[in-house]
Structure formats: structure tokens, C-alpha cells
Symmetry: C2
Subunit: 492 residues, 2 copies
């Protein structure tokens, strides 16, 4: 390569950013449209905010660092202010609500969907850009607002096509564990956070592992040691009894919780809220099989202040190697009464639910519930033979479109064979031929490409199909569009 060679960048998408083709886009849009319809029927209003927020509004501003880079994409604007791409839809909502609080109807109920960005190491199923869909009520402290958000999430999943028996909504309240720890004499915030982190590992480590992490610490199989929360034995036993308090019904769980949380004011408050959530859930038609109280649910985010929710797939799912795997969470949320106060200084109760759309799409596919076709069909292709006849071909395509059939004239430079192959690769249902013979006879020839593919793949049996479905028909100009529609209507 000489130094005179022009610079040729490599054509590649940045790491962790996906190009998405029609079938995937369509499935996600169908989900969003169904869920948006449900959220609007509950009186939630759509809101869009820009991709950027000022870094201080995201709570990610590090005054001593050159760049705020804790998981966000940040850059400095030309007025020296740091901006970052939003990493969720909650922080922009808190900013918006704080900015416009006086002029908003209260409670302010909004839903939103759109991309969020995370500056993390990408991996399989772990993109740096993905679409979230959120609904939040800002300005209501009522536990009924939490219950309504849960009921709406259930209705949204149903509209998206997720079967009711494929997942379970688990509900907890941060105030319970907080109250229990206070009653046990644990006041230190860092220690409380360590307890939350330990409980969050219950699924993976079991009760013994969590007990170790609540106490001195735990050495894993590799020999690495994780320092524990340093709780005393009595407190450890209380926490373990707490996370094990889930019973068969919401009421039975509440009863058990009342026995184990130890009577602190905060714990009682949490219990009272859960009781009201449970009663409202019943009124909202969310049954015991759909939503349970589960004290083991933590949710990672530190900003939750009360109720937390997590939707988990329960149906066993298969991975690409056909192995049964635990799919895990398909959404969650909770109450965050302090986020708006970061701006205004005034406590503003808020609660919401969020899910990732491509993760829900994956859950629908994994649980066999996806109803959308996995491929995007191509248009009917009008074959182009003769440059002097292009307007005749355009007229055929226009006739099809007027009849509601997607159609295009082949506009490349290749011959008949390549054109048929093009139509086949587009998964077109049919190709249309208007040659000199057809023009002379006043006809159009139509090739049934779905049949061709079915025969080629062995799905269709040549002898059986030929009688009622010939691979190629010649129709008079008067009735040809109906003949194409009949083929398109079969859809393979």
C-alpha cells in the first residue's frame, strides 16, 4: 500500500451497537404499540425527552474526574457543561417533572419508550443501546398507585402476547428489611447496602452463602474472599427468616412478615403499604397466581424507597443449544420518592415500571408465545426485460399497489435468472412477467415463488400441489391482479 492510496475505513458498527432488520423491528414495534395502547387506556400520557441530559441531572457528575464515565456516554458541550446520553428513562422523567412541576396536572402520569445507552462492556444479549418502555406516576404516595402500575404492567404484558402463566410478578418493600435491620440495631447505611447485596444473591448462593455474606464473609470456589456485612448471629437469623417469609397467598405472606420483621416503625409502614397494595391488586383483578409478595426480591437500583416489583419468567426456556435455562427478569420497577427532590428539595412521591423491549421480545420467542412472523416478506417483483418497457412495468406495479399489494419493478442491471433469485431472496410471494409474448396476447405471467420455495425445501409435494396450485399461471390483463392477490393471500 503506497502512501497515495486513499484512506478506506473499515465498514463496521461500533461495538455493542446492533443493526436491526425489518422482522426484528416489526416485532418490537408491535409490542410497543400494544403496550402503549394499554398505558393510554389507563390515562397515561406519552412523553419524549432528548437523548442527552446534563450529567448533574443524571446524578453521575464526578467533580474530581476528567470525565463522568460511570457507565454513561458523556461529553462536554461547547459551553463546558457535561452532558450524557440517558441510561434509563427515569432520570429524564425526574428532571422533566421537576422542571415543569407547577404547570403539570398532578399526579403526573406518563409513559415513554425509546433508546437508552449504557457505556458497559458489550456481550451476547448485552447491547450498549436498547429500547426501554416505562410508565410512571409522579405525585401520588398512595400504595394504590403502586398496585395500579403493577396491574397495568400485567395488562401490558398480556397485550404484548406474554401468557399469564409464563411469568410471575414479585413484590417487596424496601422498608421491611430496613425496619428489620433498624430493629436489630443496624443503623449504618453502607452495612444496610451490603445486606441488600447479600440478599440479592439468594438465588445463586442459597441460604448458606447469603448467611456467610451477612456475617464475616464468603470464600468462593476460586478462593476469592468477599467481605461480609458483619451482622451479628441474631440479625443474620432475622434476615434469613425474612427472605424466607413468602407463603402461598399474599395474606399469608403478610402474616408471616408481621412475625419476622420485629416491630420497627419503618417495618410497620412497609407492611401497611404492602397490605394496601395487596387489597388494591385484588380490586384491580390481579390474582394470587399473577402477583406474589416475595421478601427475597431486591432490585439493584439504590434509588428505590418503598415498594419494588420484578417480573420473572417462570416457564422453563431453551437457549440456542436447546438447554433449559432460567430466563430471569423481564421487567421491574418500584417507588422512588427522592429522585425529583434531588432538583427541587421537595419530596415528590413517584412509582413506575420499566421493561426492555428486545428482552421482552426474546422472552416471547423463548416461551413460544411470539405470534409475529420471524421474517419480513418482500414485495411482488415485476421483472424488467426491456429498458424501453420500464413504464409498462411501473404501471403493473402501480396496479398492484392500488390493490393493496406491495410491489416493485426490478431496477438492477441483471438478467432474468438473477431477477428471479432477487425476488426469492426478498421472500417475495410472486414475480410478474410482462414479455413480448404477454404483451401480444394481452396477458401477464405470474410465478408463485412461495410454492417454488416450498417445493425446493421439501415442505410441499410436487404431485399433490400441482393440481390446485400451479407454479406459474398466465392471466388476462383484466383479471391478473386478483390472481396475484390469491397467491399473496396464501402467504407460503
Amino acid at each position: 500500500m503506497t502512501t497515495d492510496a486513499p484512506f478506506r475505513p473499515i465498514a463496521r458498527a461500533p461495538r455493542g451497537f446492533q443493526d436491526r432488520r425489518a422482522a426484528a423491528i416489526r416485532q418490537e414495534r408491535r409490542i410497543l404499540s400494544a403496550v402503549a395502547g394499554v398505558y393510554e387506556s389507563f390515562g397515561f400520557e406519552e412523553l419524549e425527552t432528548g437523548a442527552f441530559e446534563y450529567a448533574d441531572a443524571l446524578g453521575k457528575f464526578l467533580p474530581d474526574a476528567d470525565r463522568p464515565n460511570e457507565g454513561v456516554f458523556a461529553l462536554q458541550d461547547d459551553d463546558e457543561q457535561w452532558m450524557a446520553l440517558r441510561y434509563d428513562l427515569t432520570a429524564p422523567l425526574a428532571r422533566f417533572a421537576a422542571e415543569h412541576w407547577d404547570s403539570l396536572p398532578k399526579p403526573f402520569r406518563r409513559y415513554a419508550f425509546g433508546p437508552v445507552w449504557r457505556n458497559e462492556k458489550p456481550g451476547p444479549g448485552r447491547d450498549r443501546q436498547f429500547i426501554q418502555c416505562d410508565a410512571d406516576t409522579v405525585g401520588s404516595a398512595r400504595p394504590q398507585a403502586d398496585a395500579e402500575i403493577i396491574a397495568m404492567a400485567v395488562a401490558g404484558y398480556a397485550a404484548a402476547g406474554l401468557p399469564a402463566d409464563a411469568y410471575l410478578l414479585k413484590i417487596n418493600n424496601r422498608k421491611l428489611l430496613n425496619g428489620l435491620l433498624t430493629a436489630a440495631g443496624v443503623e449504618n447505611a453502607a452495612q444496610k447496602l451490603a445486606v441488600l447485596r447479600a440478599v440479592d444473591k439468594l438465588d445463586r448462593l442459597g441460604a448458606d452463602g447469603v448467611a456467610a455474606l451477612l456475617g464475616e464473609g464468603r470464600r468462593d470456589e476460586s478462593g476469592a474472599f468477599t467481605k461480609g456485612a458483619q451482622l451479628a448471629a441474631g440479625a443474620i437469623a432475622s434476615v434469613l427468616a425474612f427472605v424466607d417469609a413468602r407463603r402461598d397467598t399474599r395474606l399469608a405472606t403478610l402474616d408471616r412478615l408481621a412475625q419476622v420483621i420485629g416491630g420497627s416503625a419503618e417495618g410497620d409502614e412497609g407492611l401497611g403499604e404492602l397490605a394496601q397494595i395487596g387489597e388494591a391488586l385484588t380490586g384491580l383483578g390481579v390474582g394470587e397466581a399473577m402477583a406474589v409478595f416475595d421478601p427475597a426480591v431486591v432490585r439493584g437500583l439504590e434509588y428505590y424507597t418503598g415498594a419494588v416489583f420484578e417480573a420473572e419468567l417462570t416457564a422453563p426456556t431453551l437457549n440456542e443449544r436447546g438447554e433449559t435455562v432460567r430466563f430471569g427478569s423481564v421487567g421491574g420497577g418500584g417507588r422512588y420518592d427522592d429522585l425529583v427532590a434531588r432538583f427541587t428539595g421537595e419530596r415528590t412521591p413517584a412509582t413506575g415500571f420499566s421493561f426492555g423491549v428486545s428482552r421482552l421480545a426474546a422472552a416471547l420467542n423463548a416461551s413460544g408465545a411470539a405470534t409475529a412472523p420471524a421474517v419480513a416478506r418482500g414485495p411482488v417483483v415485476v421483472i424488467a426485460f426491456d429498458a424501453a418497457r420500464m413504464n409498462d412495468y411501473f404501471a403493473l406495479a402501480a396496479e398492484l399497489r392500488a390493490a393493496g399489494v406491495a410491489a416493485e419493478v426490478y431496477l438492477g442491471a441483471s438478467g432474468m435468472r438473477a431477477q428471479m433469485k432477487y425476488a426469492d431472496r426478498r421472500l417475495s410471494p410472486a414475480a410478474v412477467i410482462l414479455g413480448e409474448d404477454e404483451i401480444a396476447a394481452g396477458t401477464v405471467t405470474i410465478k408463485d415463488l412461495d410454492l417454488g420455495r416450498a417445493l425446493a425445501s421439501g415442505v410441499a409435494d410436487n404431485s399433490a400441489w400441482r393440481a390446485d396450485r400451479p407454479g406459474q399461471i398466465t392471466a388476462p390483463r383484466a383479471g391478473w391482479v386478483e390472481a396475484v392477490r390469491a397467491i399473496v393471500g396464501r402467504l407460503g
Copy 2:
């Protein structure tokens, strides 16, 4: 303020980024959905790419600069590579097409819509994030591909609701002016670019101003001097004759152009392409009143290599002060045969059309063609009196939703008056009251809020309306949903 005071960021959106409420989102989504339907009917397949591209793929990489910042938002990834937010949808398409060329059906026809970002000084009507909608055909050198893109843009505008007589599609070909300049002995690329820039100012400066910019240069009213393209007098006359070559019909313009472009090979090529575009436009049903050849059309982007298109509003529009203004462009495009070759080294013909969605929405509003309601209606609000009755209220809201009526239970902490005010601010059609009297009588009281607003604003006359439209009705539980539907059906 003491140093102990907590840090309170100011709640504000970054400069040039808009928050968008439901009515605006809905209008833009209606446009996008209508246009997408048209583009799919022409056989175009949707594609989404990520927000970021590597800076070298955008052609904005400056090896000597600390940061590539020519109008893009750029940052360095943790592997030291510069990435930038896309500033249009064409560069990501060129990258995608180059990356996947071997496996794509060819020609590759795709449409896309989504936000683009420009790191420019924001101002009124000039956001740093806005939604573009593009359709492109990659891999066809045929002028019919340009004509089809134009015909599809026309069909897209019609579907979006833009009246055919509100705008005009102007078509030109870069090869004409290039050929003319070559014939006049102008070979220097910078000089050719200066000529393009001068011609682009025809609307603003008139023929005399352009003539000055083609020659020595021009001093404006402020006294500032712009250096000219330094053309000789004969070349200036040729360029002025060229930009004045538009005639009443496409054929007449082609005839006039043949006289003025001076017979260079490139000019003849451009003429031949325009002639074929004109013939195909006729075949595609795009009449003379809809699309004209106009040699004065330039289009700013330097990457165009042949045909260029510009859609301009012709109907006079009013600005906010009620003054008649020229709205200008609502979209455009052209042929760019070199963009994919930046990556692959192989010339890959491509042509496309792009419009900004909020600009089209503004054009629809300005030309009086907008049909979407300018406000978003709120849900029916079930008034909450008694915390012990919440489940009864939830049941009412559920009944309404089951009947297809958006409904919510008020979940704030305020009393009756504030709740009615809330429903009014949400532009709710009705409020529903279930008090102890109603429960005892087995009825529901329904307040017609649209009527209340109409009376308050003087739109409705109290005496005339009362007879057939009482402001408040009490309905039995058996028929109350129908009574609400009757009010909602009136829509104010």
C-alpha cells in the same frame, strides 16, 4: 447557603434538545406510519442502525485534532476509537451496505426513520436532535431508480396529508453544471464548488448578486466582501443562462438545457439521465404540476454525484406573527454514487430521499393541512372520595376500559374540587362520581367536562345546550358506561 447544603442541580433540558408532549408525538407518529406504509408498498425494507458510528465511517475524522467536532457529537470509546452520533441516516446506510454487501439482495432498498444529532448552535426551529425519514436504493445506476424515489416521496407526502398543490418537487443534475464548467475551461474543484455555492444564493441575491459571486466577488450591505469564483465573463454568462433554463414543461426545459450546457460529455450524460427520469416520472404518474426540472436547484451536500431533488412548499405560509413567509424546503435527496465506495473501493450507485419529520409536521400546520388534533385528550377520571372505596372506583375504571374508553382513578391526595380541576387540565371528556348517595341508589353520576369547557369559553350557549346536553347526568349502574360513551363520542 452553607457548605453543608446538598447539591441541587437545576432541572433543565440541555440546550437544543426538546421535550415533546403527547399531541406533537402523535402527529409525527401518524406521519411516519403513513409514509412507512407507502415505502413498504414500494418494496422498501425497514432498517435501524445504532445511534453511534465510528467517526471515520462518518467521514468526520480529523487525525490532527483532539476531537472530531465538525458538527457532530463525538467521544472516544474505551478502546480509544472515536465514535460520533449519526448526523444523518445516509452515512450509516453507506456503512451498513458496505459491511453486508455480499449478502444483501441487490438493489438494496431500505427505508429508515429515527433521531439524528447535529452539534450546532441551537435556535428557534433549529434543534440539535430531530427525526429524519429516509428511503434509498443502493445498487441501481438506472435513472428510473431516481424517478421512483421521487414518485415515492410524492406518494409519501400525499399519505402524510400534504396537499399536492402545496409543494413542488424540483429536480436537477450535478453533471449539467459540471459539464458546462468543463466546457468553459473551469477544471479546478474548489472553483466548481464556489460556483455551486454562488448558484445556491440565487433566491436570496438574484442574478446580479450571483453574477458578482461568480466573478470577482461581492460586497454586501454591511460592507463585508465575499471573494468570487473568478470565472471569466463568458463562463459567467453561461452559468446564468443555465440557471435560468427552467421552462413550462420538463421537455421544454430539457430542450433549453441542451442549448446552454455546451456539449461536454458529462453534460450530455446528465441531460440523458434527466430525460430518462422525466420519461419514468410520466410512467409513474408524476405530472408536470408536481415535479419540474430546475437548474437552479443545488442542495448543499457535497456528496451528490448526479440527480438532486428538492421538495419546496409553494403555498404561502404564515409565521407566528401572522406574516406571510417563504417556508422553503420540506425534503430532498439525490444520487450519491461514491459513498459506499469510501469503504469498499468499488463504485456503488445509490439514490435516496430524506425529510425531517417535525419540519414536515410544521409544513402541514403552516399550510393548514394538518388533520390531527392539536391536543391530546385525557382519560375519563373516576373521582376518589373515600380511601375505603378505592376498589369500587377501580372497578368503574375497568368497566370503562373494557368498553374501549380510557379511564383512570384519581390517585392524588386532594379533594373533589382539585380532582375536577385535574380532569379539566387533562382535557378529560368526563368525570365519574360514585358517592354514598350513588351507591345507595345504584347509580353513577357523570359530569360532561367538554360541555363545561365549551360553556366556560363561550363556544356553547348555556340556554341552547341544556335541553339535549345536560352538564351532569345520573345513570343507573346497568347503563352508565353507554352514557359515558355518548359523551366521549362527541369529543367536545
